[in-house]
Amino acid sequence: MKRRSFHALALAAGLLASTAIFPAFAQNAPSDLIVAQAFDPTSLWPNFNTASDEINAGALITEPLFWTDPKTNKMMPVLALGYEMEDDTTILVSLRQGVSFTNGEPFNADAVVASFTNFMNPDVAPAYGRYASVFESIEKVDDNTVRIKTKSPYPALELALGKVYIVPPAYWAEVGADGFGAKPVGTGPFKLEEWRRDDRIVMTRNETYWGEPLKGIERVILRPVPDDMARAAGIEAGEFDIATNIPIANAAAIEAAGKKIVEVPSYRIFSLELSNLEMHPSPMHDKLVRQAVNYAIDKDGIIDGLFEGRAKHLNGQLLRSNQVGYNPDLTDYPYDPEKAKELLAEAGYPDGFEIDFRFPSGRYVQDQEVATAIAGMLEAVGIRPNMIQLEAGEFLRQLVGRELAPIGYVGLGPADDPDLQMSQYRSDWRYSYVSDPEVDRLIDAGAAEMDSGKRAVIYQELSKYMRDQASVAYLFQNVDLYATGSDVQGFLPRGDQLWMLYGVSVGDK
């Protein structure tokens, strides 16, 4: 009897412990747009940092003068009305009228001048030094016009203009960059309501917004969800309206759950750095060996197999097909292991060789997997890679420290301009692994040419030359995957992972 009472009690205790109490879910209003990104921003001032998750959050509140719209691939005026070139180095920008910041300050030429002055001060906006150095000066012409001078003719001008976000000068003077980053005030469609670090940023609709109000969206809630699997599960379960960086492996299940997958060809170009720098002696100095590496890699296998078709061929060049300077005559090195072996033998390595191969883990999409696959392909032709896996931070340090040699797996995603892309391969660039005077000459020629047609010819020549030299091993162009709820319309990010909510609406399938 006594023992039995103990049984009963033990059973009761067990049951009690295992049944948790489930209160009702905290319901979000249907007019809340919940966006899951990987990281919480450090600052909501978009010119604080160049990380896309940060800019995307801040750009809902503060706006730039121009924005290159991914739907049309054209530059669209935001706070500007348009611009005209007075000469090669002088731009006259006319500004939108009747716009004010949510704290009541007017948007005018003074605000633009103040914002550009911040942007051009390396102590205030150090992350944008490369773009700031383009500008010589800015002055107010009248309340609705500013004149901007560049130091020299600059082909990627529109790009640089679009980088500057306009802040209210009086408020900025009061709180400074750090204060503004924590509590921004802007002209954008939303204003900050609450920011719980690492948890959520809540933004409410700006009732006095100058533009078209976003249909069906009263609030935007940004949630940082670092784990890819968890982010994908969240959108599949309907907890988020938009989720960024969806793993390819989850795309099918998300679509099957009735959500939409948005595929955006990324600006990120993947290649193997095959260093021919003097500081990195290796067989990679031999053009034949570099070509052999290119022949050894099965691009189709990677794109169709590992990425299930959600990646694009490079066609033997580093510029993308919709860019100025893309060379339509070039093709990928075919996958030909036999040819690779022949070339290696011809270069004096009939038995192959052993070589260090560095790659990141957790920085790029399926990076460890792609690197392992490539290592297997190289091994098959006699190049025995000694795989060195680098944690993401260490990888970045080695990349910019020129330690990612002799072979390094990289995905470079610079701004959308042929000069900014190709100058990454100039021999004096911080993380260039190519040392070739001809490459340098063509890069310089392209950078100085303002005429788009002549520019294109120079870059086509450069691409052809680099392909023949096999300056790098060409791999693929990445495709970014986003997922949205079925009732989210018009969401389209750019290839640099930036997005705005202009034209996005919720409801009415």
Binding site: S5, F6, A10, P23, P126, Y128, E394
Partner: protein
């Protein structure tokens, strides 16, 4: 008892200092972090300015001296990423982590101890075997895998709970149970073996002979006398628990100190890494101190001196 606690605290100080020193050199050895905070195409001037601002251009001994000097005054430096005091970042995220740790402890103890008692009581019976296998299972699955599988099964398929975030009690259930699995398994094992040591002792027989109910005998006499090793293990496991927080908070996007820690390590945000490690160390020490005090409550024979 006050004097005892004070002595204990004094003993702990050199350990904490040691932890900080190791942490300082470990982080500094991992190289110049400047490039991780600036865009890859940042200008050289901008890089130099960043280094100067955070004292990274000074020699290592100089940096160390400054670090110790400031740390002794309670200043652990500014985060390289957020430009605010590192300790503030930890303090901001403290409530979330403590909430998670307490819930974990609660689950692990309320399930672990009864199961351990039952296993010991019915030693060698099927129920004992079952509980022991359950414990082994809990100890044999990595935390991240538990986490992801539970997200898929409970949040995605069954839609019982949210996949992550910190939004009321429902969002606490998955991360806390995930984190509790390992600890619960350990508590089961320790409770069982400790109970076995006690259960055949003479005073248990005496208690039975006196006609006390079986429940009183088991819970008051046997469990009461075998609880000390359990408390010790829980306190010692606090370090492991905090390590587990790192993974769990990342998987469940729980806005706590563990996630801050992993981000800071990946980004080489030295001051934040130091602040987090110091925080973990203090929590660990505190947990063990609490365990010491608990001893004297559960067992009158233990006197703190």
């Amino acid at each position: 008892m006050g004097k005892y606690l004070l002595t204990r605290l004094l003993y702990v100080l050199p350990s904490l200092l040691g932890v900080l020193i190791i942490c300082f050199f470990l982080t500094r050895l991992s190289g110049d972090p400047t490039h991780l905070f600036m865009p890859v195409d940042a200008t050289d001037e901008a890089l130099a300015a960043f280094r100067a601002k955070h004292g990274l251009d000074r020699s290592l001994p100089e940096q160390f001296w400054l670090f110790v000097y400031n740390a002794l005054q309670g200043d652990f430096g500014n985060s390289l990423r957020f430009s605010v005091p590192a300790m503030n970042l930890v303090a901001e995220r403290l409530p979330a982590t403590l909430e998670l740790a307490m819930a974990t402890l609660l689950i692990a103890v309320t399930i672990g101890i009864p199961l351990g008692v039952m296993a010991a009581y019915w030693r060698g019976r099927p129920i004992d075997t079952g509980i022991r296998y359950l414990a082994a299972l809990g100890q044999s699955v990595p935390t991240f895998y538990w986490g992801i599988v539970s997200i898929i099964v409970l949040a995605l398929w069954m839609r019982l709970l949210p996949t992550g975030g910190r939004d009321g009690l429902t969002s606490l259930v998955l991360p806390a149970t995930t984190l509790a699995t390992t600890m619960m398994a350990l508590i089961i094992r320790v409770t069982r073996s400790s109970m076995l040591n006690v259960i055949e002792q003479d005073y248990i027989r005496t208690a039975r002979a006196k006609g006390q109910t079986e429940f009183v005998v088991v819970v008051r006499h046997a469990l009461g006398n075998s609880i000390i090793p359990v408390i010790t293990v829980i306190a010692l496991q606090f370090g492991v628990l905090l390590g587990g927080v790192v993974v769990t908070e990342t998987v469940f996007s729980w806005p706590g100190v563990g996630r801050l820690a992993i981000q800071a390590i990946y980004a080489r945000d030295y001051p934040v890494v130091q602040a987090v490690v110091l925080f973990f160390a203090v929590v660990f020490v505190f947990a063990n101190l609490v365990a010491d005090v608990l001893y004297s409550f559960v067992d009158p024979r233990v006197r703190l001196k």
